[in-house]
């Protein structure tokens, strides 16, 4: 009888310990998964921005920049080097559009292409997105850029923040953590100096 009670007690303690270990391991697994997912989203966004912004004005002698504001830009260029001029628009969506994400602050980045005539709504967990424009002397320009000053733009500073879709709960401290990646780069589209 005593043996039975003792073994049950030990078993109970063992089960509780194992359950606690399991919970910590799960938390670590979630952290790692959200971490890598956030980084992948940020890199995906960065490479896309760099790919297209460096081609602004390529094979386009006039109206290379159509609209330039702090959260929206429309530009033209031969993105695939195949002679087909595309007009690309980047803009911010609203937080209400990010329905599947548990992050209340994130919003999609909407990319629209005139050639394919469709809009790509990219839910990458972006919580901040801003554009700034500089002239040939690296002086910032006031946004939105007036039409007559569009040809003076020589550099575009892109900055965004990507956060995880879900928060990580720390059972010990009780804090919630959102993994985040901040990315900023000043891009100098080489073909902007050819504006005629």
């Amino acid at each position: 009888m005593l043996d039975l009670i003792g073994s049950m007690l030990i078993f109970g303690v063992l089960i509780l310990t194992i359950a606690r270990v399991q919970e910590n391991l799960n938390t670590t697994l979630y952290q790692s998964t959200f971490n890598i997912q956030t980084q992948q989203n940020a890199i995906e966004m960065a490479k896309q921005i760099e790919f297209e912004f460096t081609k602004i004005g390529y094979n386009v002698p006039t109206f290379q920049l159509v609209y330039a504001d702090s959260n929206r830009i429309i530009f033209r260029g031969d993105m695939r080097n195949n002679g087909q001029i595309d007009s690309i628009r980047y803009s911010k969506g609203t937080t209400a559009m990010a329905t599947f994400s548990g992050n209340p602050r994130d919003f999609p980045i909407i990319r629209r292409s005139k050639v394919t005539n469709d809009s790509l709504v990219q839910n990458l967990g972006v919580t901040q997105f801003s554009l700034a424009y500089y002239d040939s002397t690296n002086v910032p320009m006031t946004t939105p850029i007036a039409g007559g000053l569009m040809r003076d733009v020589r550099a575009i500073n892109v900055s965004f923040r990507v956060e995880s879709y879900e928060f990580i709960y720390d059972p010990v401290s009780g804090d919630t953590t959102w993994f985040a990646v901040n990315w900023q780069k000043r891009i100098y589209p080489r073909n902007l100096s050819n504006y005629r």
């Binding site: 194992i18 670590t28 992948q40 073909n191």
Partner: protein, 344 residues
């Protein structure tokens, strides 16, 4: 009971092992993601480096295309280059680990702004004194070949261009037939202000002579195929000569002079001569065949110009559009303008 416990322990062990494996796997994936972006960025930077290396090799006339140069733990390649004198096509590739980045460029080789020469001698400033010493000393605005040996027959300019009618009359009165051109003298206020170009010449100079003294021996600056930029800057408006070349000075390109410089052994310059400062005296000296072929711009306030050529053949300033063209196209004064630039 014991068997059940054993199965339960084995199951628990397998579950923990799976979780541990997934944790390690995500850690590795995170490193791979970061490394992947780093490799992409490094490859792009190497492709950019290749552009600069290619332009440098092109300027120096050597080493194109460039094959697989190792740099910063990666390699860069410049391939498929071609040019038609002023237009350059270039493809570059940067390779870092398993990432590569390609750039395709078309560049136009252009020249930096060059002062407009309005005659054999352009005077930009108020002329207070103008003298020509020596019966055989002359200024000729007719267009000569780059070596000054023959007339081209077209593209003639004025002999001496001044800013005001009074200055033009002063030159005409003193010249006594020793100024030739179409016309010999005229008022032309478009003569360039050399002050706008001096900083460029000083920063790009191949030779800077700024220490007062006598420079003995014959000196040659540049060549017909490789003109150079020479700056003589005494930083002084002293009326006495502070820089004196006692031997013959021969040069091609741009000669910028501030203050008083004396060429007692004679001078032969093919290109542009720019004089700036309060008092400028161009003294050709007494020997040889002192000659300037190209153009001269003299600028400053209250200018006093004295042309001295007392030797047997006198002294001459001859206008030459070809000599000025060679001076304008000195390598250091050229830059590349992007016509088209495609990345990846």
């Amino acid at each position: 009971m014991g068997r059940s416990a054993m199965f339960m322990v084995m199951g628990l062990g397998m579950a923990l092992a799976m979780i541990g494996y997934n944790i390690n796997k995500t850690g590795s994936q995170a490193v791979e993601v970061q490394m992947g972006y780093m490799k992409y960025t490094n490859a792009r930077n190497l492709a950019n480096t290749a552009v600069h290396a290619g332009l440098r090799a092109f300027d120096r006339g050597s080493g194109l295309p460039i094959t697989a140069v190792s740099f910063n733990n990666g390699t860069y390649i410049v391939s498929d280059t071609s040019s038609n004198r002023d237009t350059l096509w270039m493809n570059t590739r940067g390779v870092y680990a398993d990432s590569s980045y390609v750039m395709r460029l078309k560049l136009l080789r252009d020249t930096k702004p060059f002062p407009g020469v309005t005659g054999a001698m352009g005077i930009r400033g108020d002329l207070t004194e103008y003298t020509m010493s020596g019966a055989k000393c002359y200024v000729d605005g007719r267009n000569y070949t780059a070596d000054g040996s023959a007339l081209i027959g077209s593209g003639d300019l004025t002999g001496v261009a001044t800013m005001t009618p009074g200055d033009s009359q002063l030159v005409a009165d003193e010249s006594a037939g020793r100024v030739k051109g179409s016309p010999p003298t005229k008022v032309d206020t478009t003569t360039a202000d050399p002050g706008e170009y001096i900083e460029e010449y000083v920063s790009s100079a191949d030779y800077i002579i700024d220490a007062p003294g006598v420079y003995a021996g014959a000196r040659t600056y540049g060549s017909a195929s490789s003109p150079s930029i020479v700056v003589c800057n005494t930083n002084s408006d002293d009326t006495s000569f502070s820089i004196k070349f006692s031997g013959k000075v021969t040069g091609w390109g741009i000669l910028a002079i501030q203050g008083n410089v004396q060429f007692t052994g004679g001078v032969e310059w093919y290109g542009l001569v720019v004089c700036f400062g309060k008092r400028n005296v161009i003294d050709f000296g007494l020997s040889g065949s002192p000659t300037i072929v190209g153009g001269v711009i003299v600028a400053g306030r209250a200018l006093s110009i004295e042309l001295k050529g007392l030797g047997g053949t006198g002294g001459a300033i001859k206008y030459s559009s070809d000599a000025l063209y060679n001076a304008k196209n000195i390598g250091k004064l050229r830059y590349y303008r992007v016509v088209s630039w495609y990345e990846q």
